[in-house]
């Protein structure tokens, strides 16, 4: 019976682990781990390493979910030397960790490690979603340490008309919400699900049961499902700053952002910049990302739009075909 087969496939897939590419933890600080991936192809010319800066929200293994759904594998196949930051799971002891700590301490530590290891002055950086915001801040503060910057589904203008999250949090007293604690990952999950409740809490599962009991399909579903709900708590101070400074006050666009007492002025970002946008992104509306072009001082700015949603940008079959190749093509002459 088909339904029994689906049930059996789901049960069999319930413990399948995400992640497929071989990697090695090369540097650690607190709960952060910096991974370097083992090469699977001849190194691309230039040999400048690419550091992937993932978001604090959700876990970075989405970038390397399984063999046929791995952006990292695609980048390795293009001959790139890939590093990835795993921020870890903040706990109560991390509640006062600020954005300055993440950007000017942890991220600086990772970049310094890579530059020292490779005896380079600058590396390539790929910032994903919120990690793209952190990457932009880092680049503005340390322009000489980044050679090329790639931002992927990265919000920049947090007040674009389609940004539902921004509207929802606009009148929330974020200091009272966070208090002196962390913000629960479960609470954030509920918030994200509420953006499209019928599709995300209902139709998605109908699609699951309406499809074939093919084990690969079910395992893929379960890995994505694990990723969606494997949400770390957020360090309270950093979360408060992020909501207040970016979502509520839109400081990047208004050029009023300071990190660790230093101004983050996107006009000073003059390096080659590739901005990857999902045209059907419900979390980061395309207009929120596209605003980057008018804010940076870079002459070498490229934008690539994909007809994909937020998650589709990492794990869809189309993304596997198009995104790593586009990144490698863009990086090659730079």
């Amino acid at each position: 019976m088909t339904s029994a087969a689906i049930y059996a496939a789901l049960a069999a897939a319930s413990h399948c682990a995400a992640g497929c590419s071989q990697k090695e933890a090369v540097w650690q600080s607190g709960k952060l781990s910096l991974y370097r991936y083992r090469p699977i192809a001849r190194p691309a010319a230039g040999g400048v390493p690419l550091l992937i800066v993932y978001a604090l929200v959700n876990r970075p293994y989405m970038m390397d979910l399984q063999e046929d759904r791995s952006l990292i594998r695609g980048l390795l196949a293009e001959g790139l030397d890939v590093y990835l930051i795993d921020w870890g799971y903040p706990d109560g002891a991390d509640r006062f960790t600020t954005l300055a700590d993440y950007i000017d301490d942890y991220l600086v530590g990772c970049v310094d490690y890579i530059l020292n290891t490779h005896r380079l002055n600058a590396l390539n950086m790929l910032g994903v979603c919120q990690g793209g915001v952190l990457s932009l801040c880092f680049t503005a503060l340390h322009p000489k340490r980044v050679r090329n910057l790639i931002t992927m589904v990265t919000p920049v203008d947090f007040h674009s008309p389609a940004d539902l999250l921004s509207k929802w949090v606009s009148k929330i007293d974020v200091a009272a919400w966070v208090g002196e604690g962390n913000v629960s990952g479960d609470a954030l999950n509920q918030l994200f699900l509420s953006l499209m409740p019928f599709r995300l809490m209902h139709q998605k599962y109908v699609d699951l049961f309406a499809g074939s009991p093919d084990q690969d399909r079910i395992e893929n579903f379960m890995r994505v499902e694990q990723w969606i709900f494997d949400s770390p708590d957020q360090a309270g101070a950093a979360f408060r700053e992020f909501v207040l400074w970016f979502y509520q006050e839109n400081r990047l666009v208004k050029n009023r952002l300071e990190i660790a007492g230093r101004k983050v002025d996107l006009h000073t970002v003059r390096l080659p910049l590739l901005n990857l946008i999902g045209k059907r992104d419900h979390l980061v509306p395309p207009a929120a990302s596209a605003a980057l072009q008018r804010l940076v001082g870079s002459d070498d700015y490229t934008v690539l739009e994909f007809d994909l949603g937020h998650i589709g940008m990492y794990v869809s079959a189309r993304a596997q075909r198009e995104v790593p190749a586009a990144i490698a093509r863009w990086l090659a002459p730079r």
Partner: protein, 265 residues
């Protein structure tokens, strides 16, 4: 082989029921995001679609229109209790404080009474915001049901295959998402959601204060004390980092320098 999605669905539901004797209880404990409500809704959708549309298949256009409206109303009712963040877990949030908002706070228990009054006030605000959100949710469902009835068209018996039922379901989801998005982007929804979160924050703060007070009486460590220590530790860590950055690294002597030093008498 069974090609009917909805029969598959029902079979799957019964399998889940046999695997777990209390799916509803599990659903309540996991905040309403378990499979049980969703399976129930899918089953009811199938039954209603077949009953209503089968019956209207050979009827007049007016009867068919009425059937579509009845079906859309059914859907609205089915999703009225959908577990959204503002409705999940409220029942387990704690005992509602006794109403004493207006009584003047006097004497040695003044501070405690005022704290309880603030807690009660926060609870009242939470409940009020939750009702506003539920109303907006209900309005969105009504709007979705109207749109669905308008787009469903006259039912055709011949088209009542599994694929047709699935298309109906997808159409309902589309209508529901569109109506919800209009509501969710609106000022009234944003205001109500903000009020819900802000009042919940206030309620939590007051309850935390009550618990801390009790902890102090028993000489137990409180969160405030741990926070103070964490702040101090972080400050020391920052000073250490700053000191290590500003400390000038000793330049290693070059080979030539070392050689010159050795050559000196």
């Amino acid at each position: 082989m069974d090609h009917d999605l909805w029969r598959q669905w029902q079979a799957f539901a019964s399998l889940l029921s046999s695997a777990n004797p209390a799916p509803q209880a599990r659903s309540a404990s996991d905040g309403g995001f378990g499979f049980a409500p969703f399976i129930d809704a899918a089953e009811r959708f199938t039954v209603a679609a077949r009953t209503i549309l089968d019956g209207a298949g050979n009827a007049s256009a007016r009867t068919a229109e009425e059937a579509a409206r009845t079906f859309s109303d059914f859907l609205r009712e089915q999703f009225a209790d959908f577990q959204m963040p503002w409705s999940a877990g409220l029942g387990a949030a704690g005992v509602q404080p006794a109403p004493m908002e207006d009584s003047p706070a006097l004497g040695p228990t003044r501070e405690h009474q005022q704290r309880w009054q603030r807690t009660a006030e926060a609870w009242r605000r939470i409940d009020d915001a939750r009702r506003r959100l539920q109303r907006l949710w209900s309005d969105a469902l009504s709007e979705a049901a109207t749109a669905f009835a308008a787009r469903i068209g006259p039912p055709r018996v011949a088209a009542l295959s599994a694929e047709a039922v699935r298309k109906l379901y997808d159409l309902w989801i589309e209508c529901a998402e569109e109506a919800y998005a209009r509501a969710a982007h609106g000022d009234a929804f944003c205001e109500a959601l903000s009020e819900f979160v802000n009042a919940s924050s206030q309620w939590r703060r007051e309850v935390q204060a009550s618990i801390e007070h009790s902890a102090k009486l028993l000489d137990l460590p409180t969160r405030s004390e741990i926070n103070t220590l964490t702040h101090r530790l972080k400050s020391v860590e920052e000073q250490l980092r700053a000191a290590s950055k500003t400390r000038k690294p000793r330049a290693p002597a070059s080979g030539a320098k070392r050689a010159r030093r050795r050559a000196k008498p």
